[in-house]
């Protein structure tokens, strides 16, 4: 029997980016907020301090900051006809756990979607014809426009101290920034990081080909910065360890480094860690969630936490799982194509390449992801798709540096994975490799979705979430096209050797590809096409707000975090200014 706790103004499930933002904004609005986190707390002074944080084996190979698959995981299959099996060790994607969530170990690529991404179906049908979008492609317009979201993109930049260079300030195009981006109200808070040497070679070659190279926007401070919550960030030291690990210098933005220092001093906030939320308590008749049920993983004790507002911000998989398991909304039924919870799962279609320059010293032992150079000439609305046979696209990035001692050894294909020849090749190429990536969009398809697994259960006895996903013909064609564009630039860079590394036809859960999962609780204009409305409010329970990339109708050709942070701030603003005064549906269906 669950112990019933005292009612609280708001409960936040998952203390990553979106949860941290909501907890901060709602406490600033005067609400008492409880943050529930399944993983441990992370205190930089103990957990992210030198020299332990540079233990690459612990963090990058043994995945210290990722979710514990022995407690909860998902099952996976490529096609509906197959039986799904549980993922027993994260690999293709790495959902984080603990305070900070996946935001602790991200690479800090901080992007906005293009204005036309937000009106994708309308844009494609207007430009390429009313019948141009195939029936199987389940894309839809966002219920919010770029211009509405811009102030929140701007605000999120100032939470994170992002370092970059604007390419479109209030409509004025600026060479050296991303000229394909939507208009920005203000320049990035910090100057861009210096180019890595590999990025600089790429920039020169791309420019010669008529493309528009610019420094990747990096969610870390390139100089000491005080953010809008009054939290001080250090300057990036280009230590060479960044992704899959946390920042020793409090320079890379995460909710731990940019929000928690303020929340820890906030008397209206209480953090409870190592608690596993099992279910939302749903009053279907009242169309309200009355609270959440959780199990304390330290004691096994079960609690019911009643709350006036419930924020579900527990990553794509847990968000979708929680709604399915709590009976909120109609589950997506693949056979009929009806139902919405679990619909439009979208991955990110990233395909890499590598090039080798024996006569160039590229200093790979240092650097940051911010040293990457990007061209955005092949994203959705950047170029004409007529006659190409696919929609979508993505940015192309090149970088060298930040190559840690175990994982950062790029060797040509065909090199043995161990032994004396591998050692020779490692020594030969370590200083001389440049890596490339294509950040491809993924558009919803009726065969890609999430539902409850009929066989496997988690540590609390709940059915696991089941993911059914495979690369679509559209996405493969898009990716081949992006790789052909990269190849042109690589050839112009003049390497001694290079390799394009296209994705295999069938998606596999190894090796690592991207943690950019999206969809499952998508947002839209009415309850017939979405799970949440334009303010991320559930259509089925007006006091339930679902945060994160699970609300994206589809995945665009950029990293998701910039948009999910902006959406959380946009939703928080609406809750503060409208919902608290008049609790109820913010959009009338």
């Amino acid at each position: 029997m669950a112990t019933r706790l005292k009612e609280i103004d708001a409960v936040v499930i998952g203390m990553g980016w979106a949860g941290g933002i909501m907890a901060r904004e709602l406490t600033l609005a005067g609400l008492n907020v409880v943050g529930l986190e399944r993983g441990p707390d992370h205190r930089p002074a103990q957990d992210f301090a030198m020299p332990g944080i540079r233990d690459e084996l612990k963090y990058q190979q043994r995945l210290e900051l990722m979710g514990d698959n022995s407690i909860d995981t998902i099952t996976f299959r490529n096609q509906p006809a197959q039986m799904a099996l549980p993922i027993r060790r994260w690999s293709a994607f790495l959902p984080g756990e603990g305070v900070g969530g996946t935001g602790n170990h991200w690479g800090g690529s901080h992007w906005r979607f293009q204005p036309d991404d937000f009106r994708l179906r309308t844009y494609l049908q207007t430009r390429y014809g009313a019948k141009s979008v195939p029936d199987t492609m389940a894309i839809q317009d966002w219920p919010v426009g770029y211009d509405e979201l811009e102030p929140y993109y701007d605000r999120f930049d100032k939470v994170c101290g992002v370092s970059g260079k604007a390419g479109n300030l209030k409509g004025r195009k600026i060479a050296g920034g991303n000229v394909f981006e939507g208009p920005r109200a203000s320049e990035y808070p910090n100057r861009p990081m210096p180019h890595s040497e590999g990025g600089a070679i790429f920039a020169a070659a791309a420019k010669n080909l008529g493309y528009h190279p610019f420094p990747v926007p990096f969610s870390a401070a390139s100089a000491p910065y005080k953010n809008i919550y009054g939290v001080a960030m250090g300057a990036c030291q280009e230590c060479g360890f960044c992704t899959r690990t946390a920042c020793e210098a409090s320079a890379k933005a995460s909710s731990v480094t940019t929000i928690m220092p303020a929340l820890r001093q906030e008397p209206k906030f209480e953090l409870r860690t190592r608690v596993f939320v099992s279910r939302l308590v749903y009053d279907k008749a009242a169309r309200r969630v009355t609270g959440v049920l959780y199990t304390d993983l330290k004691t096994g004790q079960e609690y019911e936490q009643p709350a006036n507002i419930v924020v579900l911000s527990a990553f794509v998989f847990s968000n979708t799982h929680m709604l399915l398991h709590s009976g909120i909304g109609t589950p997506y039924d693949h056979a009929t194509g009806t139902g919405l919870v679990g619909k439009n799962y979208c991955y990110q279609f990233e395909a890499p390449a590598a090039a080798f320059f024996p006569d160039k010293e590229l200093n790979p032992y240092m650097g940051s992801p911010g040293g990457g150079v990007v061209i955005d000439d092949f994203n959705n609305a950047s170029f004409d798709h007529a006659g190409l046979g696919f929609f979508g696209g993505g940015y192309i990035i090149a970088s060298s540096g930040g190559s840690p001692p175990i994982n950062g050894r790029s060797v040509p294909e065909g090199t043995p994975a161990w032994g004396s020849q591998w050692k020779r090749e490692t020594v030969k190429w370590y200083y001389h490799s440049v890596h490339f990536n294509t950040q491809g969009s993924v558009y919803g398809h009726r065969d890609n979705y999430m539902d409850l697994d009929p066989t496997y259960k988690d540590a609390l006895g709940r059915p696991l979430l089941r993911l059914t996903y495979n690369g679509t013909d559209n996405d493969h064609a898009m990716s081949r096209y992006l790789l052909s564009r990269v190849e042109n630039v690589i050839k112009a860079m003049g390497p001694a050797h290079y390799e394009m590394r296209p994705r295999p036809k069938n998606f596999t859960i190894v090796p690592y590809q991207s943690t950019h999962n999206a969809g499952g609780t998508i947002m839209g204009s009415d309850p017939g096409n979405s799970v949440v409305n334009r303010y991320l409010q559930s259509w089925d329970a007006h006091n339930l707000f679902v945060m994160g990339a699970s609300t994206f109708p589809q995945q665009h050709g950029y990293n998701p975090t910039g948009t999910l942070g902006a959406l959380a701030l946009w939703s928080a603003d609406k809750i503060k200014n409208s919902y608290l005064k008049n609790p109820g549906p913010l959009v009338h269906a």
């Binding site: 205190r43 030198m50 000491p224 001080a232 250090g234 030291q237 210098a249 220092p261």
Partner: protein, 119 residues
């Protein structure tokens, strides 16, 4: 010969007392680079720097220092602070501070001057 004179002159310049007095007010501005870690809160990633001048390195009881810092055998005076702030790994090899130093010695000297007043 000319090169030798130049290097002697340069050496003399580096060793002689600075021509300009250290600017503690400027140092206070530059100290912004430090406050993310040296925040004087219980959760701080760096040790408190209040009253650091005159202290021996690695001696605050509530901070977990590197062995390198605990072994450092000197007192934080203006010159030692300046040298450390300019080149942390050069001054105390193997310390754990993730900061590569102020490239300009004058900046390091100004921050050292500010720290003399930070109590």
């Amino acid at each position: 010969m000319r090169d030798r004179i130049t290097s002697i002159t340069l050496g003399a310049l580096l060793l002689s007392p600075p021509a300009l007095a250290a600017d503690a007010a400027h140092g206070k501005q530059l100290f912004a680079a430090c406050v993310a870690c040296h925040s004087e809160t219980p959760d701080a990633q760096g040790p408190s720097l209040k009253g650091v001048a005159g202290r021996k390195p690695g001696t605050l009881e509530d901070f977990r220092y590197s062995n390198a810092m605990k072994r450092a055998d000197f007192v934080w005076d203006a010159a030692n602070l300046r040298d450390y702030l300019h080149d942390p790994q050069g001054k105390v090899k193997g310390n754990h501070m993730p900061f590569s130093g102020y490239p300009d010695v004058k900046d390091a000297e100004d921050v050292a001057a500010y720290l003399q007043t930070y109590k």
